[in-house]
């Protein structure tokens, strides 16, 4: 049992168990905190795959930003005086059947396929320099467009969410 194996199963259990609770618990706040655990687990997978920069971005953007935004959404859309913040379910049985079938087919296909893996697997390298070089050369246009999209989206979100002034 080497460390990589132990870490992989550790992150796998954290991710899958907390993701299961995200979609099954009735309490919205519990779901949000379980989502935080899931995001931490996924960041762990990025580290295991040698993508340390993506892992840090995942922690900063998802855990620090998107999750806080979701909790804001929960707090602002439930009356604060309500002591229990619950969410009901719709179509549980057909949803479970369809998603179970889908998951079976998907995972069966994934595990049966023979992937063409690059022959000598290189060791994971720290990637900040490589990512920066690619962003400034090959992906400059996408990078700039994404910056504009993010700015427009945030301005739009603020303008949609603000109180009407009439």
């Amino acid at each position: 049992m080497d460390l990589y194996l132990i870490l992989f199963y550790f992150f796998a259990i954290i991710t899958l168990v907390s993701a299961f609770f995200v979609v099954t618990t009735r309490n919205v706040i519990y779901a949000a905190f379980n989502l935080m655990l899931t995001l931490f687990g996924v960041a762990g997978f990025y580290v295991l795959l040698g993508a340390d920069f993506i892992a840090i971005v995942q922690l900063i953007v998802y855990v620090g930003g998107i999750l806080i935004l979701l909790i804001f959404g929960v707090m602002l859309t439930n009356k604060i005086t309500d002591t229990d913040i619950k969410s009901g379910f719709l179509n549980r049985v057909p949803g479970l059947l369809i998603v179970g079938t889908f998951a079976g087919i998907l995972i069966g296909t994934l595990l049966k396929s023979t992937w063409r893996i690059a022959a000598p697997l290189p060791p994971p390298v720290a990637g900040l320099v490589g990512i920066g070089n690619l962003l400034m050369t090959e992906y400059t246009l996408i990078f700039e467009i994404l910056g504009a999209v993010l700015l427009i989206a945030l301005i739009g979100a603020a303008s949609i969410a603000r109180k009407q002034s009439n």
Partner: protein
């Protein structure tokens, strides 16, 4: 016997298939959340799970297919778009709450007030 040894080899040698398995499970759980949740914020959480599973796939294929940083950059772009998406979606959810006084996706069936 060969089946048992194949299984134990599979369990002790982490490869591409393991990461794909995790991401497939995450994707299915996300779909389940999107389909069965009543609260719109919980539906958004399901969407975040789906986006994360796609990201694991990008990074895993980049690592095992030896594509360098291109797959990681795709994952980075997905994270940026997810941030934009969740900001817009929560603004819309807040507006729906102001109009209908709840955010249950089965009760919102009018475009106007």
């Amino acid at each position: 016997m060969t089946d048992m040894s194949t299984l134990s080899t599979f369990l002790t040698h982490i490869g591409l298939g393991h990461f794909l398995f995790i991401s497939g499970m995450l994707f299915s759980l996300g779909i389940y959340g999107v389909v069965t949740r009543k609260n719109a914020v919980m539906v958004l959480m399901g969407i975040e799970l789906i986006l994360n599973s796609a990201n694991i796939n990008f990074v895993a294929f980049a690592r095992y297919g030896n594509y360098g940083f291109h797959g990681q950059l795709a994952a980075l772009f997905v994270i940026i778009l997810a941030a934009a998406e969740s900001a817009i979606a929560l603004a819309i959810v807040l507006n729906i709450y102001k109009t209908f006084n709840n955010v249950n996706v089965d009760e919102i069936d009018k475009l106007r007030e």
